[in-house]
Symmetry: D2
Subunit: 300 residues, 4 copies
């Protein structure tokens, strides 16, 4: 059983199994905990390379809509403040990517008083960001405005050398997505003529023209590199998802190679367990209401 | 082609077609615009009674996550204020149901300063409401606290006679869900010994024990009965969804009887059209990024 | 006793008293309920023209920080929505003036999802608006960005002909300040080649170049002209302030001509009465705490 | 010149000067930077003990309404998260005291998703908290509800032994006010049968009945003891206030012993300097507007 994060273990094991197929022989399946990892596993499967069933625990409501949204929201902002001691209320913060992670970070940055601008490639998410009260613009337009840039896309070089060249002196760059590629850190390091560690995890790069850019946590996940990662209350539901996936893989021996969703009732069970832990009570449908929810003849 | 809202037309036409099957003969299909209506159509299909393809335009992201959330959010709160002239900032507002509609109403009520409490039957939504900063409790516990109760469940008698008997004097009741059944209005009217129209759409019912309860818009959708319904900017994307569904039904002649989703690319096209109308610009993936989004070998 | 609003009665009575001094003879004093009116009364006093004591009830915490802030916040936004049925969440709203009224309107517009920009002439208020997460800019820069412009300054022609000429087609203009002068309505009417009433209280002026501008409530207070004014719960504390002022003027017969503050303990009494009406309980200092609040020797 | 914080230096110097009066001979004056310190200085002056002029820089708008509000808001919440790694979104946070510091902390805690309850002894502030959407209650009622308790009152034992005995197991206690007295830490330490340092600055006290209570930073200012204090952008305006006070004391040699306000124009100058540093532009009154602001005859 592979409990994976970022699909790294799955990719490595499959690579190793090309030489030694016995490595995969006893693997019942795996589960994957991140958006980036699910995309990788799905791409592996499309290419015919995935040999095991993978439960996309990242896609559990109790993971993707909690951990990615509330967890990343708090911990990324926390990481930035710990690393920089910046005053969020006077800052323009560019949130690059408005998926669950970006939405959470935008919410918490705004909750600390920041002016949030959002960049996106998906029109629906761009529209959501607009209706959530944020300015949406191209990264090329956001770059010169931003005091802080946070990448949360799962993609590569979403902050490019061009963007960095147009940024304000002293702008802060950090990454809340899975991999270090989101910012073109290599370019930044090459282009810099000077590099100073201002505080722990906060490095100032001075460009040839004298402009400074600040990189946090060396471009790695800012909540892990500069703070304590997600709060344990958030990890509880995420880890429960992995446990449920393991149980599900053991129970459903017929799951083929591919990326599978955790059944909704197991996902809801996680939520119910967490509510109980928080001491929150909720209603149950009466029999009449349960019946009503199944019929169609009664209208107004 | 049936452009339906609440599934009423579909239900009536099927009922009439039992006597005269020719009525359905030339119907290519339909689309349905509300959560309640999609549930009804799905239930019809499960029972083997649905004879036409129905595109669940309600389930478009550009409908359910915009119209139900932002549209209902603004217009329900607007309906309450127009009907009552209440000061939202000093009120405890019970939001009954935390689907997209309830989430939107909670957001806007809180945005006007109200203290929001939420009731739910779904554990995941209950957990979301908790993490969104609202108190979640049973309706029996919320009823005595609330100054205003808003139902948005799609179910029946979610505000029951028991709840009404435990409410505060002067509590305001209204419905933001599709059908008038959400509050047990019949009981309220029978139990009342006196009925006074305080303002247009605002009726005060006096109980035998002297307690008053106030009902807005006779329990009908408060945004339609007491205000102007959704803003036209919101209806634009909803109506575009119906137009896209009609085009899709005409193009895909092989869609069988049942409830179908609008293809994602058409849904995204709606969002892109609306963004363009708003003058909002967004990024496009570079070739390298589009390629990266499809691979799995590059990790960190 | 003059219970004044906008200082109109006071100004008129003093004007009339120039011919007939007996008119002021039996006047014990007055109270004034608006920021604009207090400024006028203060200016009268500076010029040596004010003959009576005026209690600036506007400056009561229970007035200026409640009525102007929470009351104007809700009712101005309400007036705009009722007059226009606009969708606030996709709008850039320019709040002109960031005193208590402007702060309240900015809060509620943002609470409905609007992107708020603020203009100010006072550096401290401009800084507050910045730290509250809004973009602050000159009116000349805000005018071309705004979908909706709301004036709340107490001054004149803060939206000038130049500003109107730079606005977007279809921009909506309205006034939440005391007097109609805030927008140069006269210019707008003269410059228009066509005038259409779109909805009640919503008039579209078409300029020579074909651009439309929309004016609400003819430039009068938008909450009074287009909605129900302040909620009664807000007026309760405002009117209590006037009652307390009357009592105070009767009790303190030695108050000279000039503008006077209501004593703080009376102001706090109003707040305590309103809290009791809302059923809210609070703490009282223990004897030890009351003593501690008066000493200075105990530090850490 | 005494640049004081908490009035400690002023109190000590006056105490020492009782033996050696020469110590105060050359002191031109002082300035005081905290609410608690201004109260102490004012109490000293009332008692006839203050021998020097003290400029209450704490009362500058650019200090009290910025540093206390935005600065304390961010840094106290930051201190709690650093010390505990708690998930704010699922927590009930009791904010004890709703002055500028308490208002700021409530805003930021709510901005991170917490459910905020407020306790107060001042009816106006209690009313503000209510209208800001928070539940206001007695400390005795808040104690059993709270997951986190934050004191910001400037008073003593606002969290008493009775309150601590009624708290939930695991409740977190911390202080954002000037002095360590706000929580009865002495009682807590005496009552505990066991004391464990869970993380740096986070100590768990186990009571005789087995219940745990957690104290952060030993009851000292949580933003200083557990985080980096205020962001430098906030300190900039606070320190400018001290600089302006020093200049003012040097220029106004006639200021007598007592507590004095910094003149408003110097306070506004600080705001203007900070705006310029942020690159924010604002409007200036036209001549006609400046004239209008000084007259009273033009009404509507």
């Amino acid at each position: 059983m592979l409990i994976d994060d970022g699909c790294d273990l799955t990719v490595r094991l499959h690579a190793a199994a090309e030489k030694d197929p016995s490595l995969l022989a006893d693997v019942i399946g795996g589960c994957e905990q991140t958006t980036s990892g699910v995309i990788r596993a799905t791409n592996m499967h499309r290419a015919g390379s995935l040999k095991i069933p993978v439960v996309a625990t990242n896609d559990n409501d109790t993971k993707r809509l909690l951990d990615n949204y509330y967890g990343t929201g708090q911990s990324v902002v926390d990481g930035i403040i710990r690393a920089t001691a910046l005053f969020m209320a006077a800052k323009t913060v560019a949130v690059v990517g408005y998926g669950p992670c970006g939405k959470g970070v935008a919410l918490r940055a705004a909750g600390l008083g920041a002016q949030v601008v959002v960049t996106e490639v998906d029109p629906f998410r761009a529209l959501q960001a607009t209706y959530d009260g944020y300015r949406v613009m191209k990264m090329a337009d956001a770059a010169p405005l931003a005091d802080v840039v946070i990448t949360l896309t799962g993609n590569k070089h979403v902050v490019s050398s061009d963007h960095m060249q147009s940024m304000k002196p002293g702008a802060v760059l950090c990454n809340g997505g899975q991999f270090v590629h989101e910012i073109d850190v290599e370019w930044l390091k090459k282009a810099a003529v000077r590099e100073d560690t201002v505080r722990a995890n906060m490095v100032r790069y001075t460009m040839r023209d004298g402009k400074d850019l600040v990189l946090l946590g060396d471009g790695n996940l800012v909540n892990l590199s500069c703070a304590d990662g997600h709060p344990s209350e958030v990890m509880a539901t995420s880890f429960l998802g992995q446990l449920m996936a393991v149980k599900h893989l053991q129970a459903c021996t017929k799951l083929g190679a591919g990326v599978h969703a955790l059944p909704k009732d197991l996902d809801k069970e996680i939520a119910a367990l967490q509510l109980a832990a928080l001491g929150v009570e909720m209603d149950v449908l009466t029999d009449a209401q349960a019946a009503y929810a199944k019929e169609w003849e009664e209208g107004y």
